[in-house]
């Protein structure tokens, strides 16, 4: 858009088309910049923290068993990659099974709560107190009951992770404008069709909001289970590394768990993107909209 170009005589139609094109260009440019910002800034912050950490531990000569520099953690991570991978798989399996169980139990439970007020009144207090109870405290009990295998970890993950699924689903199902239900009735939709065409899509943003909380809690649950009693998994590896004062491996394990947690979260987010149009993803509405 040089000065010379602007002074040229143009027909109004051309001018409009041109400003349309320029609006499109500036929109694309803005979107591109936003994308760069979204990646660059957080990466920059992380790098900055790593640099300060590295420099700090070296300058202050912090002993490696207290706080190893990130470079040492990275070396340990690579050296122990097969070990981390092996234990990582086991933890992943526990998390996914616990998460799946949360969905399989949580959504029907929410449905029952939504459909039958009496059921809701009788079950909700129990449900809420099950959340007030510290799950870590029952972990040893689970070991006694279910042994040292996968099962107790899956159950602890489930116990911690299912509550948000229940609540967000129940809230999502209940929070629909009455006019939409009137509309469904006057169009002649039956109860089932009304549920699948109106209520469920209306609840999806809220449900996915709950699932995203749930998956991060499932990670916590699995690791807690492994802490209390296990012979495999990243939580177990952390305990072993801690016992042998291998702080580098401890940090490598924490990094592996973090990466695992983030990847699983992103997978749930991907499922959300596929399931519902972008513009109604929670944030505008959904989680924040209670009945």
């Amino acid at each position: 858009m040089a000065e010379a170009e602007r002074s040229l005589p143009r027909s109004p139609a051309v001018a409009v088309a041109e400003s349309e094109a320029s609006a499109e260009r500036s929109r694309a440019r803005r979107a591109w910049r936003a994308r760069i910002r979204n990646v660059l800034y957080p990466v920059g912050v992380v790098l900055g923290v790593l640099v300060i950490w590295e420099a700090g531990t070296r300058l202050l000569e912090v002993p490696a068993f207290l706080l190893p520099p990130p470079s040492a953690v990275a070396v340990s991570f690579i050296a122990n990659a097969p070990l981390l991978l092996f234990h990582g798989w086991i933890t992943t399996a526990e998390i996914l099974l616990g998460f799946a169980l949360s969905i399989v139990v949580g959504i029907p439970l929410a449905l029952a709560i939504f459909l039958w007020p009496t059921f809701s009144r009788s079950v909700l207090p129990l449900l809420v107190s099950s959340q007030a109870m510290p799950k870590v405290a029952v972990a040893p009990l689970f070991l006694v009951w279910f042994g040292f295998g996968l099962l107790p970890k899956v159950l602890i993950a489930f116990l911690i992770a299912f509550f948000p699924v229940v609540i967000s689903t129940a809230v999502g199902l209940a929070s629909i404008e009455p006019e939409k239900i009137y509309l469904a009735r006057s169009m002649g939709f039956g109860a089932t069709a009304t549920f699948f065409k109106f209520r469920l899509p209306n609840a999806l943003p809220s449900i996915f909001g709950g699932l995203k909380i749930s998956i991060t809690l499932a990670v916590v649950g699995a690791v807690v289970g492994e802490f209390v009693g296990g012979d495999a998994g990243l939580g177990y590896l952390l305990m072993v590394a801690n016992g042998s004062m291998d702080t580098r491996l401890l940090f490598a394990g924490i990094v592996a768990l973090t990466v695992l947690g983030v990847v699983l979260f992103l997978l749930v987010e991907l499922a959300e993107r596929l399931a519902i149009p972008r513009h109604i993803i929670a944030g505008d509405r959904g989680v924040h909209e209670t009945a």
Binding site: E179, K180, L183, A184, S186, M187
Partner: protein, 271 residues
Amino acid sequence: MTQTKSLSSETNAEAAYLCLQGVSKVYATHDGPVRALEQVSVGARRGEFLSVLGPSGCGKSTLLMIAAGLLRPSSGAVSIDGAVVTRPRTDIGIVFQSPVLLEWRTALGNVMLQAEAKKLERTAAKRRARDLLGAVGLSGFEDKYPHELSGGMRQRVSLCRALIHDPNQLLMDEPFGALDALTRDQLVLDLQQIWNKRRMTVLFVTHSVPEAVFLSDRIMVMTPRPGRLDRMIDIELPRPRTLAMRETPEFAAYIREILDLFLARGVLREH
């Protein structure tokens, strides 16, 4: 359609199609019962454009919901062709005060919802949906989601949704209430055009006196809450009505009559 016992046709000898007889509605609220409607009897002839006009809170929406079978009257009855309505009527087209579109469906998808409910043949229904959207100036917007449409556009989509199954009766609750004057004029003209072609029975709730006079065959003016029928006014202006007609003395006389009524009832006050 809900066909049950027949009403004794003591009122409205002139074969009313939609008939409300002694309809009252009392809402139970925290601070006692609220009388929304009181003994409203009114009949709409087949193919008639009947408007319901009244101050805010006089029970217009309640009346429309009762006529649609979506609310039960506390007493009295609604009948269609003599058959008492006991369930939500599915043979009508209804436009609510707000557009009530599904955010996860496109404009076309929202119109097609009605077709899905009525199990209309898909391709034909789709063609008709596109035609309807085109008729109200929305061609090119079929695949937009509600949040990409203006308020007026959304209300037009909901109008198309109410029309796609070619209903014999259209119930509209202040469909243009939230729109700017220009969009409103256009939609009123569109609606007149659609009604002129099809001549369905219309129950049209509005706040706007000129809108009611412009569109209606008859206007039912209601009293302030509890809503009762105050006066029935026949509008005998030639059809189709044009914007210029709004400047005529006949038009002004109807407006005057209604405003005088509102002044007399204390709905309006000239200080």
